[in-house]
Amino acid sequence: MTRSGMIRPRDRRRHAAALASALALAALAACGTSSSDDGGGGGGDAVDAAEAAAPLDPAAKVSLTIDCMPPATEKAELRQWKEDVEKFNEKYPNVTIEGKQTDPCLEPPRFTAMLKAKSQPDVFYTYFTDLQQVLDNDGATDISAYVNDRTVPALKDMDPGVLDVLKRDGKLYGLPCSNYTMGLLINRPLFEKAGLDPDRPPATWPEVRAAAKRIAALGDGTAGFGEYSAGNNGGWHYTATTYGLGGDIVDERGTGAAFDDARGRRILDNLKAMRWDDDSMGRTQLLKWGDLQKQMAAGKLGMFLAAPDDITYMVQNLGAKYEDYGMAPIPGQRATLFGGNDYMIKKGISSDKVKAAVAWITFKFLTPGKGQFDWARTKADGLPVGLPQPAFWTGATKSADDKARAASSTMPVANFRAFTAHPVQGRHEPPKAQEIYKVLDTVMSAVLTNEDADTGKLLDTARRQVDQILANQ
């Protein structure tokens, strides 16, 4: 067969049809492109401030969908949720709460897809670090006008640092339900076995190194100290360690890396010495969240940087016991990384719904003695009480909550005394956190898997990469 010309007549028709299909699909795609101004009527942002600050109209019938209702497998938590809905309805009979069971409450890929599709419930669960992503997707209502001493009575005693994380340009987009600061988690039986006093945990990195060496000397595959170096968790912990020693990851203007200095090298040299000179960090590396918890629950790890709820994870999922663990402040104690989770309110819902949502979050998560702070009920339901988390109260509310928590504690709270008696100032993550953590993960994995790693060179390379990330903001 011979061909006359580039495209045969029949092919021309095919190409025309293909082009028409592509254009039709392109038009479809263009229709699917989201824009920011799909307000949906009535939503919080454009509402009158005085009207927003007023309590919910009892005559207004409101139905709310809410994320993160406990799953059926968590019987006690689910029962508490239902009890709280009933009590809430005694005060607000006009509000119908429709809980959405999600377990876990947030999975990043699902969360991202949900925001893209704008299919989040009216009240949706996020991590503190998700604010930018939510705003990029135009997903949350500015609730500044709705939150005041009348709608959230304990507001004045809430740690302003925690609320600040949920603000952007002075506007408030969420209310916290839990928070944590990172510290040093210790395995008390291993401390005792190694002749160390678990009531006086290490406070500095030289002390951590010395303790790790003694615990590792117990043998039988026991590691003294564990550290992450995969899944961006290594970068996350490098950041926490830097904060603990008074350093920073990004400079004050947020335009350049600030970790390539003597302090940064000291952190890496110390880890390298523990891993290779002392052999006190175990041989299995490239660990990410969940791996160190398994080692510790199995009684094979002495210490690692963690938040209090890591203990809950180990108890609930790995058969550990609360009394085996203690917490100390992060070594250095100049500052520590903090995090937490919160509820945001979907953009575009009616003003009455926003008010009802604020009322529910306040009732369930922000009222001392009620909801999640009803420690007597939590104890009666066989759930743990005594962990130093959430910890966002200050002043009189904190004193009252600490007292109530201690009175109903189900674990030896003295094990956390070192952590609670010396609260360390919490600092939030750097800008472009995950991208920076990815770069720092490489640094951590190099130090923990390569005996000949050049820490100065690693930090220099990482600094240039982070500078580039920040320049691309």
């Binding site: 007549p9 990043p108 990029d136 595959g221 390569n450």
Partner: protein, 318 residues
């Protein structure tokens, strides 16, 4: 009048669309043809709709996404900035280097090993079915289970491989924890997990090679290697070349094995692959524009490679 009627009764298979019917007889024939094809079109429309929504639309959407970004809650035109971002990301070149290394090693191991195994299996007269099952068994295991198995094998502290090396007096290795051996370790695991399917395909192709050709080669004094070179490979060339193309496309998109074995990037980023980087852009950095841009680069390169490969194959056949 007879010629058009004949043409209607016996349309050539590749005839262009029929001209609009002119006479009542033409119209009746047209309606009959339409009725005859209606069922086929009915069946076809389901598939076309599925492909449109779940395959073609996402591809077109991805194209647009690569030129968009989110700014203050709005989707705005980004021009080439997503592409500039990925080309300036140091991880971009590292991911391509790693992916090419994986593809190269996977071709050496993942292409050759199943073929050799198929050759060996083809020689067995008894128990071939059991052996086929044994070879295919790893494919039936869920990938996560296989990966966890290899994670245990590779552990430098208590892993099986180091114990075996220690038992025979060889030095222990860091396996996944060394930049020198991490990618090779991933390839070994991936080959073990996936070779069953390829082996069965090669085996089927080998069983189609006429026995007389081997007999003729033997009479000509050919040994095993010459029989493979002069009979087996030419006879199975079509399957081999198709498998090669598919393997290159599949290995360039490797994701699961390094993601589960090394947590993604591995030691100093030694196992970070292009598809993992796409995943990271999208689901860790929430940068869908850059993820789409990198996806598009990968698509274009794979499409160009496939086209070149097919053209070269045709040229060599002619």
């Amino acid at each position: 009048m007879s010629a058009p009627v004949l043409a209607e009764r016996q349309p050539p298979p590749s005839a262009p669309a029929a001209p609009a019917p002119r006479s009542p007889r033409d119209r009746a024939a047209f309606r009959q043809a339409l009725r005859r094809n209606l069922t086929a079109h009915g069946f076809l429309i389901g598939a076309v709709l599925c492909f449109s929504f779940f395959s073609w639309y996402p591809m077109v959407r991805e194209f647009f996404l690569a030129f968009e970004k989110r700014e203050n809650g709005a989707t705005v035109w980004a021009g080439w900035s997503n592409f500039t971002y990925i080309f300036n990301d140091p991880a971009f070149w590292q991911a391509w280097r790693n992916t090419l290394l994986f593809t190269g090693l996977a071709l050496l191991l993942g292409f050759a090993v199943p073929f050799v195994v198929a050759l060996v299996l083809n020689e067995f007269r008894h128990g071939r079915g059991y052996l086929r099952l044994l070879v295919y068994l790893p494919v039936m295991l869920p990938p996560v289970a296989s990966v966890l198995l290899f994670k245990y094998f590779y552990d430098p502290g208590y892993g099986l491989f180091n114990r075996v090396l220690g038992a025979v007096g060889l030095p222990e290795q860091q396996w996944l924890q060394s930049t020198d051996t991490a990618m090779l370790s991933v390839v070994i695991a991936a080959t073990w997990m996936n070779m069953g399917g390829a082996t069965l395909i090669y085996l089927a192709a080998l069983q189609g090679v006429p026995g007389e050709q081997y007999e003729a080669a033997e009479l000509d004094g050919a040994g095993i290697l010459r029989k493979i070179w002069h009979v087996t490979i030419p006879q199975t060339r079509l399957v081999l070349s198709l498998m090669l193309l598919m393997q290159i496309i599949a290995t360039t998109q490797v994701f699961v094995e390094p993601f589960l074995l090394t947590g993604g990037a591995g030691p100093e980023g030694a196992t970070l692959t292009v598809v993992q980087l796409i995943y990271q852009y999208a689901f860790t950095f929430n940068n869908y524009g850059s993820a789409a841009a990198l996806g598009l680069v990968l698509l274009v390169l794979l499409a160009a490679f496939s086209a070149a490969y097919v053209r070269l194959s045709r040229a060599s056949e002619e």
